[in-house]
Homo-oligomer: 179 residues x 2
């Protein structure tokens, strides 16, 4: 049972969004810019960052829905799993590994990010823009994850539902409700 | 020195906002709805929640600027200080104390919020809407704080600058840059 009266046919963040459309609008728009609009980081890379941070925050709904979106972009479910359990051994670029390390630091606390973390990302070709967006994706998922779990939203365990949601998000992004 | 190339005349989050106006827009809008638009929680109460979470996250820029906004709304600097150090002994309502307890749980992690925390807030008159906004203010400041510190933005120690910023925020809200 969610902590407040939410629609019981909407899973996870969708129920919070339906409860308060005024805050849903900018929250959707921020996710859309960060994860879906054109960027030198691919949508798959950005969804992996979102998935990794959500798994570090232990948010089932967010790590599963964004994991499904990442798998859809990458056409690869195994890489998503490996990023969550041990990204250093995952078949991804050295640049993305360095950005995931930064995202992991942001998840624990902004001050944990060091100049050495940034230098490592730059060494592998990360731009200021990519470092900025990595920091902000990680920070934003510290918000989305806490919103979803802090309201104790309904988070069904039906994998096919998340696969469908992932396909919808990968295709259409975040500005409109999926239903 | 910030981790990326930011304008050196803008403090804290303003420098990140200037670097990436596309993400600044929804981030400003979310803060404006949560902290400034009409609500059954007063702007002073909402700024106290933002200040408390920012102090728990040890973000100097956010706790000082929102603390100044709260002090301006409440016309009381001492209450702001007491909320940061020991809100249970602060001269605020029992409802706000119960909401601050929820905000503190969200700051640590969404799953830390218990049904007992929610029942306590309801006992003191908190509505579902107020509980929702408290959870989201706390979650959102876990983003803003990580963004400000994760980029290692310039956070001057000039108290009069924050007092001026607080007055501007209290009066005009968050949708437009203060300079």
């Amino acid at each position: 049972m969610p902590h407040i009266s939410l629609r019981d046919d909407l899973p996870g963040i969708s129920a919070g969004f339906a409860f308060r459309p005024e805050t849903a609008k900018p929250m959707r728009e921020l996710a859309h810019v960060l994860l879906h609009e054109p960027n030198s980081l691919t949508p798959g890379e950005r969804e992996l960052i979102a998935t990794y941070v959500s798994s570090q925050n232990d948010c089932y709904f967010c790590q599963t829905s964004h994991g499904a979106a990442a798998a859809c972009h990458l056409d690869n479910q195994e890489t998503v799993k490996r990023v969550k359990t041990d990204f250093q051994s995952a078949p991804i670029s050295s640049k993305l590994k360095a950005l995931l390390a930064i995202a992991g630091k942001v998840q624990r606390g902004g001050k944990d990010v060091t100049s050495a973390d940034i230098a490592e990302a730059r060494k592998h070709g990360a731009t200021d823009f990519e470092i900025h967006d990595t920091v902000l994706i990680a920070a934003a998922f510290c918000m989305y994850n806490r919103y979803v779990d802090g309201l104790d939203t309904w988070q069904p365990r039906d994998e096919s539902m998340y696969a469908e949601m992932g396909r919808h998000l990968a295709e259409h992004g975040y500005t409109k409700p999926s239903r």
